[in-house]
Amino acid sequence: MSIFKCTATAALLLTAAAARAEGPGLGQPLEAADIPFYATYVTPEGTGLPAGSGTAAQGAEIYAAKCATCHGATGSEGPVMPPVGPNDIWAKPAGSYWPYATTLFDYIRRAMPLEAPKSLSDDEVYALAAYILERNGVIDEQTAMTAETLPAVKMPNHGNFLDVWTKQGAKPW
């Protein structure tokens, strides 16, 4: 086979592969207005945080009513993964172990409480994030959590993580 024929065959194969990879192209346009909040995630920089505000004192009341049954009277008793540490049950309490405070807002907003996720207002979610952070000694009682203050919170365990994917990709640790 000549070099020309080889090249032509390779080109044909490439074209065929590309056509297959493209698929039938049946996806429908998705408008921004049709994307619910839980299809995105608040980033560590705070992108995606809504307007609103809440303090630890406000959060304490909501916590007692909607969270204490699972996470304990003050957040450290459990039984379910208590978010206030240190405690005897869970070595990775959300309010001190997680690297970014923004995750508290996003997770509570999308997933909590377990029996009624997405039922809390943005103000309530900010207040609960404030309560958990205050109980962990990460923020003081006076500081309201907002789209500006929450991403600025420096988490105590930040910087104590090794990113295995960046270090060695899919090779197991």
Partner: protein, 427 residues
């Protein structure tokens, strides 16, 4: 497991504790066949004829079910907080009651952080958005028209074998409780690359945040590299539509990656520049090391194996011939070999692998064994094609903080007592 009267003096041993040469598999089968030949004889009028042989059977039915006598073959349910958070529930595959490598769909393990949603497939959609040229959405009817691929892969929860990882004394339970959070399925669906290319990923799009349509909208950040190399939008499980427990009507499949990332009830793929540090990658699926620092983004599952026959909670039926059988797998390609020990790790013999050995799939191994009735410890040790091998439990424990129960892949020893009880032990 049956006794054999075969003369043990004629056996060809491969290692201590009665492990036999793999050649003995065929030899003993041939011997058994010969011994089992019936002498020609007259049919006996008084021999029992069971009633089902004297009646018409049941009519055809639209969807089959296991035999009634097999109703005890169930997943083991684990509900750590059943009083306050029953929706956070798990179930483990009863590997000690199964053979082969494919897990029946109804026995595939489950881990639900917020319960199993009841999704109307007509209203479910998959969105692809973020750093793409064309934000798109797909319904099930449209996806059905895409070219599909088929592949067999295991899924394993990062917390599989958690009791062995953290309990000070070995828990006496079956493989369903001890190692049941791994299962193996033939999946069919659409290569994720096809859908992502249709949306047109922008050059800065390096990660995909996948989210489910369940109550908690479970979300994970996934490297674009993995999505594009072998990610699949899985629609079918063992030939039928995916079971609700596994993500009906669609799930993300990332071969070899920890189960939690294989988002069930998948509804959104949001292309980003960087991971967003979701709850599950911030705390639930990070591992604290012995020095107090943590690992994050530990995606691939390590090489692992355990013996299913015999295994913990079983009772031996006396000395004699047995086939040791078990399962091995790795998140890094194929299982290369599985060694078996019947003397607590002093000597090892290589088991036979049932082919074809598939990448990121459960592989069954076996080895003939003559148990002389004395107490001993059985173990299996898998190696994968990257050269990785299972560690002893003490080595695994030494790497991590005492609380860590994720990515446990240590060697599983089973103690066989003189009485024939098979028990979970640490070595």
């Amino acid at each position: 497991m049956t006794r054999s009267t075969k003369d043990s003096a004629a056996l060809e041993y491969a290692a201590g504790g009665g492990l036999l040469s793999r050649r003995m598999l065929l030899a003993s089968a041939a011997a058994g066949g010969a011994a089992g030949l019936l002498q020609p004889s007259m049919a006996r009028a008084e021999a029992e004829i069971p009633e089902w042989t004297k009646a018409a059977g049941a009519r055809a039915r639209g969807y089959g079910a296991p035999a009634a006598a097999e109703s005890a073959v169930q997943r083991a349910i684990i509900e750590p907080w059943q009083d306050v958070a029953p929706a956070f529930s798990l179930s483990g595959t009863p590997h000690h009651k199964l053979r082969g490598t494919i897990t029946p769909s109804g026995l595939h393990y489950e881990v639900h952080h917020g319960g199993r949603p009841d999704i109307d497939p007509a209203r479910h959609r998959l969105m692809i958005h973020g750093l793409v040229e064309r934000p798109l959405q797909f319904d099930l009817d449209v996806l059905e028209r895409y070219p599909m691929v088929t592949a067999t892969h295991f899924l394993e929860c990062a917390g599989n074998s958690l009791f062995n990882a953290v309990m000070p004394e070995p828990m006496q339970a079956g493989c369903d409780m001890l190692h049941g959070l791994v299962s193996n399925t033939e999946w069919a669906g659409i290569p994720m690359r096809v859908l992502m290319e249709e949306a047109g990923v922008k050059p800065e799009g390096k990660w995909v945040v996948a989210a489910g349509a369940d109550g908690p909208s479970l979300a994970r950040s996934i490297p674009m590299e993995k999505i594009m190399s072998d990610g699949m939008l899985a629609l079918y499980q063992n030939g039928e539509r995916i079971r609700p427990e596994q993500g009906y009507p669609m799930r993300l499949l990332l071969p070899g990656f920890e189960g939690n990332m294989n988002i069930k009830w998948l509804t959104s793929l949001w292309v980003t520049e960087a991971p967003v540090h979701t709850k599950d990658e911030s705390g639930e699926y990070t591992e604290i090391l012995a020095d107090g620092s943590s690992l994050q983004f530990t995606f691939a599952m390590g090489v692992k194996s355990f013996i299913t026959h015999p295994s913990s909670t079983m009772t031996m039926s006396g000395p004699g011939f047995y086939e040791i059988s078990g399962l091995a797998w790795t998140g890094s390609g194929k299982v290369a070999k599985v060694e078996v020990s019947a003397d607590g790790g002093t000597s090892w013999a290589e088991g036979a692998l049932a082919g074809p050995v598939l990448p990121q799939a459960l592989t069954r191994f076996s080895l003939p064994w003559h148990w002389d009735g004395s107490p001993l410890v059985l173990m299996s040790r898998a190696w994968d094609e990257t050269g990785a091998v299972q560690p002893p439990r003490a080595d695994w424990k030494a790497r991590y903080h005492a609380s860590n129960f994720l990515h446990y892949n240590a060697i599983q020893p089973w103690q066989v007592t003189a009485e024939g009880a098979v028990q979970n032990v640490y070595l």
